[in-house]
Point group: none
């Protein structure tokens, strides 16, 4: 080696990784490797709500799940996302709801008399009953029947002499649906003020956005309202007409499905080709106020609807009218994101016709083959294993859910279901979520205690090498789970396994645990929970935030004080313990503060023999809820105990009653169904020998009766003995 | 289209992205696509410090830069990193420094006399001067000359008659280097206690870790100390010997470079093949205490060094000795990360021989072709455009830098240099960093104000479409910059451009700005600064953390806890007061916590008789500052008091002097400017009648002089009276 090698030796490049995010794409019905069109930016459109009522768990299903998908793609996979969502504030449902509410209010504001209301209701019920008669779904029929029964009762109450204005109010409220629908038929066409429609949608938009904030769902980067986009929509429709894929008919414009599908570049119904001819779905998509007059084919759908009186309207080349439902998404998405979308998503109920029509419109507009690269749909929602619906009485609004559980708990439940599969919102699945929350919280508290107690890092031993390996395995397993269509249930399982591994590691008290490894594990789990939106991004590096504040590291602020309290108590307590005899008064105070007072201010102390107490900061709200749940469990136990006792007492009372009967009389009063005596002849003791029809009883029967007699004889003797005492 | 298409239509997969992180790899001298060996986990070893002195900007250069690289890989690219760093706590520099410090202390503790020190110094200077004479670097020569000159002066001062013990101390301190080196030559071999070496390295390890924390450098997941790894190192060396790539010679073990390089599987000096024969570098790498006795070839380097007396030693198959410098990294890295490393990094001064020897050792140990996939080296550090060195008087410790600038400012300066290039720490580059900090801060404040003022999102107009596009461009540009070898200067430029774009957008006051887009821009810039470690991860979503406590009401947070502490103490205290006799031990604890402990955590208690204590929350920092201010005020008052008293005493002394003069003499000594007598004739009492020129004085002048005379007469009479007492 006297001559130095002047050249760099060969370098072996590591094998390129096939590791990458795969997403289940409705357009191919399989998981596809995700690649954005434009570098690291993901252009994403999500179908927002139609705002005419309170948001419910069906909305939560879609928006929480896609929020999780979005956060994982941003915070875990590092994509930059341009996120656009629409608000459907022009829609037949909104029109009808707004008009009916408005007309019902006008009707009640006139303070109609009892007689007028009773008479009007006769009239109002006729068309309502007809409509209901057409209903085929049994659950809905049942709901209507109940409503009818209720109205009948309320009517009867009001019809009585001496009924009050409260009875009148109750009937009006109970019969709101038939009355407002009847009024709408009479006066709907007179409602011309657009403000009436706007106010309703603005109210429910704000309510929806508030619910989303409560659920910790990130707001979109751009929020598009149909009512603000009418000119762009008109231009979009004009372009589709110009491209030969739509036609005007009597003031409406329809999409020409046949022409589109015949074009070799295009395919209609990419999401659900099987549904392309489903007239039921097509009709629902067109809306309650659509006539469909002038359609060339039944599959054709409205891009622009001519407005009848009583419907809001805007000017267009085809006369006054309003946009069809599907066109808004194509037009507004194209305005904020010109060209291709990387991701389009929505609830699975929107697949056909809404999403398929959106695709057709945009591809007809651009003249392109593929407008959306990845179409994602959330799976079904069930409530306690059944479909959610008002008729099934399991319709839950977001606000109702939030009154029972925290946003964090609900999100943990969502995370334990895959975003694309079935989600069951039930007491059972929520109990699992609560357990998961507690598991992680205890893990964080333990880890933090150990880290505080041991600060100097020492050399890895066998346990540390093992734990280090387990941490790497967990990290890679979570990575693989998230790459696999963002499989959060699997990711949670991997994290729980790591928690168990760390707990096992901490059980070995013979050696000092490694603060660096505990930090690594604690930060990893915290970080993934932050990615999932379970913990706030600006919360502590390890663990749950101790109170809901941003900027400040609360732990840093409070921990020194908590330690000072604990130290003080430790000194006092150790002094009391070392007295001869022990100072029980002082120890009692110490115990009371540990158990009752300090937890109330978020400090949990765990006393140890011959060592300082462990100090843990806990969320006092969570502690309160936990106490409540414990109380509930205790109450349930107590109720069960009382019920068992009552049953026992009832059985005892029955036994006592039975004991009063002399064995000689016990069979004589017995009857068969119908009332006839069961037996007709008895022996000297009163034991039956012949049945009611005079037939002699079989031997085995008589043997059984004798057994019964002997038993009663014993029982009755007991009664006599007791009576004589 | 009467027959529905049953099949899913064709889907076009988007083109797979070639976007990915590329890192400049010393092993290929070009940027290579980064791929970890094992899924998403990056196994990373970084050369830690040799701990024998304070950490300086050379350390900062490496550790801050690699902290930035590590954070970007974790927080931006989403890699999970297993990060291992060693502490070199066995090393010739440590041995020499510890031994010399120890022997110098022993020497001075004996309180040698002036004569002994002067005589000893004569002896001590001889070898020192010889060593210095060999020095070839002009800057170092100049430094030595200055040191000599200083010693000469101090010697002269001490040699004078009447020199003090301070002069003696000054000489000892000034001549510490020659004295301790001379003592080491005489007594070094007598230093046998390993504790002396351990204490020095433990001290400087803690100091280094503290500096790193101050610089916001993340700690490693595993910290390995050579002193804790000797058995593993011995086993590692044994394996290399067994594999035929090392040999024992007189108690030392050397790596057989020739055998290794001759093996077709291996190449020696992969980082710097050009240096493979550089004997200067090889010698430096071997250390000052290495003899190299028994080496087969000059390129061979020590894996195990036999220890001479005065050097710490451990048992081994080759006798008592210690690990060579390079072997520790190969062995410890392999213990925590068995097998291949994804990344190994260190300062560029370590390339050869240290890193090349590490590679050779590990590849010889494993019998593998490539131990490290990516070898990263930070670039040069300059101070004001020149190399940093003690001789150039521009040697800056981390603590000195932190006394001038905040950690955030220093990091921003580092970010504006590429990690692999030249870094200039200078007033100019720091001024740029300060400007950058201000620019971002102003941007965040503006954006936050606008977001607070406008909360409802309205439709995108032309400016919003443009701004949205600019945000996407900035995001993609930053992504491209980070992919390109983590080019932070370019990323900062892109972010500054976005700041300018947003500022321009906000200048258009004719329309309401979009809060969603401002949020998007603000969060993006904040997020990247969080990734870089400039802003804390748990800081606000937009902007710098506010010192103190942003939106949290600290009082609301802390007061309940403070009250609970106080209540607890009240109960305990009242119990102690009511005992007969009073429980003084407990009362003492209560008093101590009130006076010393609780104020330290910001709680001030004021006890009251028969009532709960008053609880006040105080800012402990403010409390400290307040105490300081009070002290300053008191000191100023005292200084003023002393000054006034001095002035009064001076005035009194003057008055007393004046009183000694008899009024008859008082005018006779008076002169005018130039020295001539002011007066020429006097009356009987000695009061002037004519001025120096013989002119008679005016009446009014004589009246004034009479007044003066009368005053002095009184004063002088007082003096006579006092003198006679």
């Amino acid at each position: 080696m006297s001559v130095p090698k002047r050249k760099q030796p060969q370098w072996d490049a590591p094998p390129t990784s096939s590791n990458g995010l795969r997403l289940y794409n409705t357009l191919t019905r399989q998981k596809e490797l995700f690649t954005p069109e434009d570098g690291n930016t993901v252009k994403w459109y999500i179908c927002g709500p139609t705002v005419y009522d309170a948001s419910h768990m069906g909305h939560a299903r879609s928006y929480i799940s896609f929020d999780i998908v979005r956060r994982v793609m941003m915070e875990y996979f590092g994509y930059r996302i341009l996120h656009v969502m629409n608000i459907t504030d022009i829609d037949d449902k909104i029109i009808l709801r707004a008009r009916r509410n408005h007309l019902f209010n006008l009707y009640t504001e006139k303070n109609p008399s009892k007689e007028i209301v009773l008479a009007d209701l006769e009239e109002a019920m006729v068309p309502f009953e007809k409509k209901v008669a057409k209903e085929e779904e049994p659950a809905k029929m049942e709901m209507y029947q109940k409503a009818f029964a209720k109205i009948k009762l309320l009517k009867a109450a009001l019809s009585k002499a001496g009924s009050t204005t409260d009875d009148l109010k109750a009937l009006l409220e109970g019969a709101k649906d038939p009355i407002s629908e009847w009024q709408d038929k009479l006066h709907g066409a007179e409602v011309t003020d657009n403000k009436i429609f706007n106010e309703l949608s603005a109210y429910w938009e704000a309510d929806y956005l508030h619910d989303m904030k409560s659920l910790n769902v990130l707001p979109p980067d751009s929020l598009t309202r149909v009512s603000e986009y009418v000119p762009e929509i008109v231009a979009y429709v004009e372009q589709i007409v110009a491209n030969g894929f739509a036609y005007e008919a009597q003031g409406s414009v329809y999409f020409d499905v046949k022409a589109f599908d015949a074009n070799p570049k295009h395919d209609y119904a990419k999401c659900v080709p099987e549904a392309a001819n489903d007239l039921g779905l097509i009709g629902e998509g067109e809306g309650e106020l659509s006539s469909g007059v002038g359609k060339k084919n039944t599959q054709d759908f409205a891009l622009w609807k001519t407005s009848k009186p009583g419907e809001p309207s805007w000017d267009s080349p085809w006369g006054m009218g309003r946009p069809g439902w599907h066109i808004e998404c194509s037009a507004m998405a194209s305005d904020v994101i010109p060209g291709k979308l990387d991701i389009h998503c929505g609830g699975m109920d929107l697949m056909f016709p809404h999403h398929d029509n959106e695709i057709a419109q945009a591809e007809a507009y651009y003249g392109c083959r593929q407008w959306v690269n990845y179409f994602l749909h959330t799976g079904h929602l069930e409530i306690e294993g059944r479909k959610m619906s008002k008729s099934l009485k399991n319709f839950i609004t977001i606000k109702e859910a939030l009154s029972q559980y925290t946003s964090r708990q609900i999100r943990l439940m969502f995370l334990s279901h895959s975003w694309g599969g079935k989600l069951d919102y039930s007491e059972k699945t929520m109990a699992v979520a609560l357990h998961t929350e507690k598991l992680f919280n205890e893990f964080f508290l333990n880890v933090k205690t150990e880290i505080t107690e041991h600060s100097r890092e020492s050399k890895f031993g066998k346990s540390e090498h093992t734990l280090c390996q387990k941490i790497l395995e967990a990290e890679n397993a979570v990575h693989a789970a998230l790459c696999d269509n963002i499989d959060t249930p699997q990711a949670l399982r991997c994290m729980k396994k790591l928690v168990a591994d760390v707990n096992a590691y901490l059980l070995d008290s013979t050696r000092t645990p490694s603060p660096a490894l505990l930090t690594k594990a604690g930060r990893f789990v915290t970080n993934i929970l932050k990615v999932f939106g379970v913990l706030p991004k600006n919360g502590p590096e390890i663990g749950f935030p101790t109170s809901g504040c941003g900027d400040v590291n609360v732990e840093e602020l409070i921990m020194p004080i908590a330690k000072a309290v604990s130290d003080f108590r430790d000194e006092i307590r150790s002094e009391a313990l070392n007295r001869e005899p022990k100072d029980l008064v002082v120890l009692d105070i110490c115990g009371r503060y540990r158990d009752d007072v300090l937890p109330e201010v978020g400090i949990r102390l765990e006393d140890r023999p011959n060592a300082k107490a462990i100090v843990k900061l806990v969320d006092k709200e969570e502690l309160r809820r936990q106490k409540e749940r414990e109380l509930e469990i205790a109450q349930a136990k107590e109720a069960k105990r009382i019920a068992i006792k009552a049953a026992q007492e009832a059985a005892e009372a029955e036994r006592r009653e039975k004991a009063k009967i002399a064995p000689s009389n016990m069979f004589k009063s017995r009857t068969v169904a119908g009332g006839a005596s069961e037996y007709s002849k008895y022996d000297g003791k009163g034991i039956p020998t012949h049945d009611g029809n005079g037939e002699e009883l079989s031997k085995s029967k008589r043997k059984n009766l004798l057994k019964e007699y002997t038993k009663q004889e014993k029982l009755h003797q007991g009664f006599i003995a007791m009576s004589m005492n």
